[in-house]
């Protein structure tokens, strides 16, 4: 740190090398790679409950397709038997029209049945899938949630589920398309074998062309899809982080980076449109060739009376319809591909292992347990070989209040998380009410232990709903009482609609301290035996805090408290204070005992108290050692 301004001459034009917007990584990085044939089975398991309806709709599709096939045949019948020169027959016309009427009625019913059944099944399956994923995410361990962006999960819950829906809707129709294709081929061959064969000879050409086209087009389609989600991710990030962007004046940089991504997306789309559209003239040319063949060959045959003119008409009708199913089947192919990718991402979410689960025969923690919390030789960390807590043991007796203090990053919040079994320990044991937390149901543990987290998070909804949260039975009085206890009542009353004021997203229309108070009140309403406060009053002034503490004395009688605070005044009166450093307990005892020891606590406390100008260099040095690994 010789001259603070030595690097002032940085080049601030050009594109900053490191800046990024959006956090797109290859999807595989988060969720593993291998293609898995189980995907189909997996998705099928969601369709299965609707099996009966699926069969109905497949049946309806078949009927529908058959009526489609029948229409040109009816017309052919009418022409050849009713109105061919010299063979005029009125009764045939009546029959033909009658048959036509019957066919179209069946067609009507079948198309209705098919589309409505499929449409609804798809909606239901989609909804079930989403429910299953959401439900699963409620159980997966927090270590998974920690490293997975919400936006990423949301895109699985929405985008991927939607593309499965699209697939389901169209796949039943493609059954119809396949039948139609084979139906047309058979009818053509049946009507006139040679002419049929000749006409169909264009088909292999299409297949060959497709063979060359497909791999390239596939890449282009995928790229369009991919760049879409990249650009969308960047947009979402821009929206979520807008306040930071503005306060650091990053708009210009971000705009340019975003421009790059959107431009890439544009080009990818144009490319894939080129690939999609180049097939149009090819298919049209082939249709033209097939029709020309029928005209020349079939026409000559009609001329020489070796073919009925009605057959020729029917041929022309079929040819026009012939390429439709091929076209939609190839479309279906890319829908299917996308659905496969989505299905994979969906199964990945569904397959995230639930590390922290109730074991078989887990017992419910009863309300009249003693409320003790004990750590026995607990070692724990988030990353392999990097323990955050090392062999930590302590016991909080029923009704006691124990404080955890220590430099930042020393593992205080992590201990709280373990007490609630957000994570499982590497070794050792965490006991609550005398039971290993792994033997308890998580629900009952959550009911007996209320937490105020370091980050206050509020949901959208009214203040009342937020304080009440999951305690649907809590009365308004209870809510108000809790709010009064934490000193939030006054400001809540001053909000435009008091307790019924709608909060903005994450409680944005409240100050941080106010949010903290509300999340404190929420923990009180939960009415639990053990109360865990992780910096619950960090953003609250000492005076308000003192009022809260006074109010809580009565409310919390007989309950166990675990308190984390950096402001040591907050916890001065705790029964016991445990000092953590680098994941190890370095001292414990009450305030007086610790002050006498003149250890880390005493030093921290004095620093809270003294001015830092008064701290000797030597003491600073000592602390630098102490805080080194934080």
């Amino acid at each position: 740190m010789s001259d603070p301004r030595d690097d002032e001459k940085e080049d601030t034009r050009g594109r900053p090398a490191k800046a990024v917007v959006g956090s797109h990584r290859d999807e595989e990085e988060v969720f593993g790679k291998a293609y898995d044939p189980r995907i189909v089975r997996r998705i099928w398991s969601f369709v299965k409950p609707y099996q009966g309806r699926i069969f109905i709709s497949v049946g309806a599709v078949l009927v529908f397709t058959l009526t489609q096939l029948a229409i040109p045949l009816v017309i052919r019948y009418a022409i050849d038997h009713g109105m061919a020169p010299g063979r005029l027959d009125r009764s045939v016309m009546v029959w033909a029209t009658g048959a036509f009427a019957a066919v179209i009625l069946v067609n009507y019913a079948a198309s209705y049945a098919q589309e409505s059944v499929v449409g609804k099944v798809a909606e239901n399956v989609l909804s079930d899938l989403r429910r299953a994923m959401f439900g699963h995410l409620q159980r997966v361990s927090l270590s998974f949630m920690d490293k997975t962006e919400v936006g990423r999960l949301m895109s699985r819950l929405q985008g991927d589920v939607n593309s499965m829906q699209e697939f389901l809707e169209t796949s039943v129709m493609s059954v119809g398309d396949i039948v139609l294709l084979f139906g047309i081929v058979s009818v053509l061959l049946w009507l006139d074998f040679r002419l049929g064969l000749l006409t169909l000879s264009t088909m292999p050409i299409l297949f060959i062309v497709r063979l060359f086209w497909l791999p390239r087009a596939k890449v282009a389609f995928m790229a369009a899809h991919e760049t879409n989600s990249i650009a969308n991710g960047a947009l979402a990030e821009g929206i979520h982080g807008v306040r930071t962007v503005q306060s650091l004046e990053r708009q210009h940089v971000n705009f340019e980076l975003y421009d790059e991504k959107v431009l890439a997306n544009l080009n990818a789309h144009l490319r894939s449109a080129r690939y999609a559209q180049v097939m149009v003239p090819i298919v049209d040319t082939l249709t033209g060739i097939a029709m020309a063949t029928v005209i020349v060959v079939g026409g000559s045959m009609v001329l020489s009376h070796s073919l009925d003119v009605g057959v020729m008409v029917a041929f022309l009708f079929y040819i026009q319809r012939f390429f439709d199913p091929i076209r939609s089947l190839t479309m279906q192919y890319s829908v299917m591909q996308r659905a496969m990718a989505s299905g994979q991402r969906i199964s990945e979410v569904l397959d995230v292992p639930v590390d922290v689960a109730d074991r078989q025969g887990a017992v419910a923690l009863s309300r009249d347990m003693d409320g003790s919390v004990e750590f026995r030789n607990v070692t724990f960390g988030y990353r392999r070989n990097q323990p955050v807590l090392k062999n930590v043991s302590f016991r909080v007796n029923p009704g006691e209040t124990v404080a955890l203090v220590g430099p930042t990053g020393s593992g205080k919040s992590s201990s709280m998380a373990l007490a609630h079994r957000f994570y499982d320990v590497w070794s050792g044991q965490v006991l609550v009410g005398g039971h290993d937390v792994r033997d308890l149901t998580q629900d009952s543990l959550g009911e007996q232990m209320a937490m105020v987290l370091q980050e206050p998070f509020l949901f959208s909804g009214t203040v009342l709903e937020n304080i009440r949260y999951h305690k649907a039975g809590a009365t308004r009085e209870e809510v108000v009482r809790a709010a009064k206890a934490v000193g939030a009542h006054d400001f809540i009353e001053q909000l435009p609609d008091g307790y019924d004021t709608e909060l903005e997203q994450r409680g944005g229309n409240l100050s941080l301290g106010q949010r903290q108070l509300i999340s404190f009140a929420r923990a009180l309403v939960a009415d639990a035996k053990i109360l865990v406060l992780d910096e619950a009053t960090a953003s609250i002034d000492s005076y308000t805090e003192m009022l809260i503490q006074k109010a809580l004395i009565k409310l919390l009688e007989g309950r166990t408290g675990l308190v984390i605070a950096h402001r040591l005044a907050t916890i001065r009166g705790a029964d016991r204070i445990i000092v953590l450093q680098n994941g190890e307990i370095v001292e414990s005892g009450n305030h007086e005992q610790l002050m006498e020891r003149k250890g880390l606590y005493a030093r921290l406390y004095n620093m809270n108290y003294a001015s830092f100008d008064d701290i000797s260099e030597e003491e600073m040095g000592m602390d630098a050692v102490a805080g080194k690994a934080t």
Binding site: R90, S127, I282, G299, A450, H470, Y543
Partner: protein, 620 residues
């Protein structure tokens, strides 16, 4: 100089996903505006429309050619039988082939250019949208839910983008097909012509009615879906709270309610849609049956040839697709007008915080920050003042400490300096220059606010620190981290500075997150630096090392420290005690202690070493 923060911001509680259906007039002007945007690519638009015309006309020739071929095959034409008839068949076949090829080429041109125009327009809109979002004030973002903005930027923008290809082009295509087709058919045979077009009015009426119904259910559905996604989004974002309260069941119930609402409506929509398409299809087939019946009669009575009948029937098959798509077309119009109205409303939102006309760059000479009788109220607070009569002055190198109970307005004071919000009354000056009269960019480069509730990006630690100055060299990033006492921690990580921090910094401890934010603000070397309660989760020892490290830069900088920990600010040159939006006490530490007021009470609670204080939590 009085700027009411409320006046320019749209009214509160109105969220973009919920804008009621726009009036017809507004819808129309929206569509015109989309067309104007589209016309920025005049060549492509011209090619598209001309190609559509040609392709449609060529397509109409096909039934004619087929009809003619059938007649030729039967030898009913003048050519009679034999070689001449053969020749005629060849002629027709070749013409048909040429027509098909040309039609294919023009369809390709039409589709490609149409899509290209759409994508280009989409590109422009996306940039404009992004740009706007990045500039809209905090007050705007307070009011509008991020989920709604994302919907606006994805779904609504798509609705506008697709208007040209799915709306306008279909109208042209259908117009040509029906117009030219009707002329050709009716001139061939009046009765059959009318019959074969008889389904068109029915289908047109049916699909318009249905689409309007679908559109209104779509608006409702979109609202319900946005409730659903909000439930999911907040659940996942607040997953720790959910777990802490073992509230999974509660959350699933919330989810199920929202899901059921959406599902019911989605099923209803399927019914509406399907009953419409099958009715349309049926009417088409009925018309075909009529043509078959009456046409058959005419053929039998020799009025027309089989070929002519076939021509009518083929024509109908050609028309079937575009007519069925009529519904989509109406939908596209409806969607574009609603989505467009919403999107343009956002794009047209006046920036309530922007450079004044003729604003100059802020020139920092000494670095004196002055608040003169500043008052402020949030747009959403119903006019209740959040701040009133705030005045103070901080000279270069000075530190101002601000304390006060939660909600007293401390962060609000901090937010006024870089103009995240504009003061409702009074003035704020830096070196005598009113901050509303200098450019925003220069102002925000000078003022650094370490926010209380900081947002971290999902990227490496390095990129997060250098967020405001992405050109910075490594050494400088490291130095900022050192000053914030984070360097040692970072180099202890397996991937050091390139470690990715999770969303909002989930994999960091509270204090680490705050120190990262401090480092990020230091990168800009601001002349006015505000710490908004940004050491609350940092122990006193670390905090003091941070302050010591920064001290060497503090000489020509104004520092504002908002803190609840008195040791953080007791050495400030001036301490302001804020309560209810007013400064109720001010002075140095010593003066305030002597005053024996609120500050003194705080001091007694926090710092006085004796023991006559209330017991800590729970320790009765």
């Amino acid at each position: 100089m009085h700027t009411d923060a409320k006046s320019s911001a749209p009214e509160r509680g109105k969220s973009f996903a919920h804008v009621a259906e726009a009036s017809w007039g507004k819808g129309l002007s929206t569509l015109l505006r989309i067309m104007r945007m589209t016309l920025r690519h005049p060549w492509q638009v011209a090619i598209t429309i001309v190609s559509t015309f040609i392709a449609a006309t060529l397509q109409l020739l096909i039934p004619r050619l087929l009809g003619r071929a059938i007649d030729q095959a039967q030898g009913v034409m003048a050519e009679g039988a034999g070689a001449a008839a053969q020749h005629a068949l060849w002629n027709t076949a070749l013409t048909l082939l040429v027509v098909s090829v040309l039609r294919g080429l023009f369809t390709m041109a039409q589709n490609y250019c149409g899509e290209a125009v759409g994508h280009r327009t989409g590109y422009e809109l996306r940039l404009a949208f992004y740009e706007k979002i990045q500039r809209l004030s905090f007050a705007f973002h307070d009011r509008v839910h991020t989920g709604d903005l994302i919907t606006l930027g994805l779904l609504d923008l798509d609705g506008v983008r697709m208007f040209f290809s799915t709306g306008v082009l279909r109208v042209v295509l259908l117009g040509v097909l029906i117009g030219v087709g009707a002329y050709l058919l009716i001139s061939t045979d009046l009765v059959l012509g009318v019959l074969s077009l008889s389904f068109v009015p029915f289908v047109a009426w049916r699909s318009s009615v249905t689409q309007l119904r679908l559109r209104s259910t779509w608006l409702t559905l979109q609202q319900r879906l946005s409730v659903l996604s909000r439930v999911m989004d907040e659940n996942l974002g607040g997953i720790r709270v959910v777990r802490a309260f073992a509230a999974q069941r509660h959350e699933l119930k919330k989810f199920d309610r929202a899901k059921q609402d959406a599902l019911g409506l989605a099923n209803e929509r399927v019914d509406i849609r399907v009953s419409n398409t099958s009715a349309m299809n049926f009417s088409f087939l009925v018309a075909m049956g009529l043509v078959l019946w009456f046409g058959g009669q005419k053929v039998m009575s020799g009025q027309i040839s089989v070929g002519t009948l076939a021509q009518f029937l083929t024509f109908m098959t050609i028309l079937q697709m575009p007519v069925r798509q009529l519904g989509l077309m109406v939908n596209s119009f409806a969607r574009a007008s609603t989505c467009g109205t919403r999107l343009f409303e956002l794009l047209d939102t006046e920036l309530d915080i922007k450079d004044a006309p003729g604003a100059r760059d802020l020139v920092v000479t000494d670095g004196v920050l002055r608040f003169e009788d500043v008052g402020f109220h949030y747009p959403g607070s119903g006019g209740r003042p959040t701040l009133s009569g705030i005045s103070f002055e901080a000279g270069p190198g000075q530190t101002i400490g601000i304390v006060g109970p939660p909600g007293s307005g401390k962060s609000t004071i901090a937010h006024l300096i870089p103009r995240f919000y504009d003061a409702s009354s009074g003035t704020i000056t830096i070196d005598g220059q009113d901050i509303r009269e200098v450019t925003l960019q220069s102002l925000r480069k000078v003022v650094g606010v370490v926010q209380q509730d900081a947002f971290l990006f999902t990227t490496s630690i390095e990129n997060n620190i250098a967020y405001g100055n992405p050109w910075a060299r490594e050494t400088r990033i490291e130095r900022a981290a050192e000053s914030a006492q984070l360097h040692n921690y970072i180099i202890g990580l397996p991937s050091g500075y390139t470690t990715i921090v999770g969303e909002r910094g989930a994999s960091l401890s509270g204090g680490q997150r705050q120190r990262l934010t401090i480092a990020r603000s230091l990168m800009l070397r601001p002349s006015v630096l505000v710490f908004d309660d940004s050491t609350a989760a940092i122990d006193a020892g670390t905090e003091q090392r941070i302050r010591a490290a920064m001290k060497r830069f503090a000489k020509d900088r104004v520092t504002l420290i908002i803190s609840h920990r008195l040791s953080s600010l007791m050495h400030a040159d001036q301490i302001l005690f804020v309560e209810g939006g007013r400064i109720v006490e001010r002075g140095t530490h010593g003066e305030l202690l002597a005053l024996g007021g609120r500050y003194r009470a705080l001091y007694d609670l926090q710092l006085r070493p004796d023991d006559d204080r209330p017991a800590a939590l729970g320790a009765a």
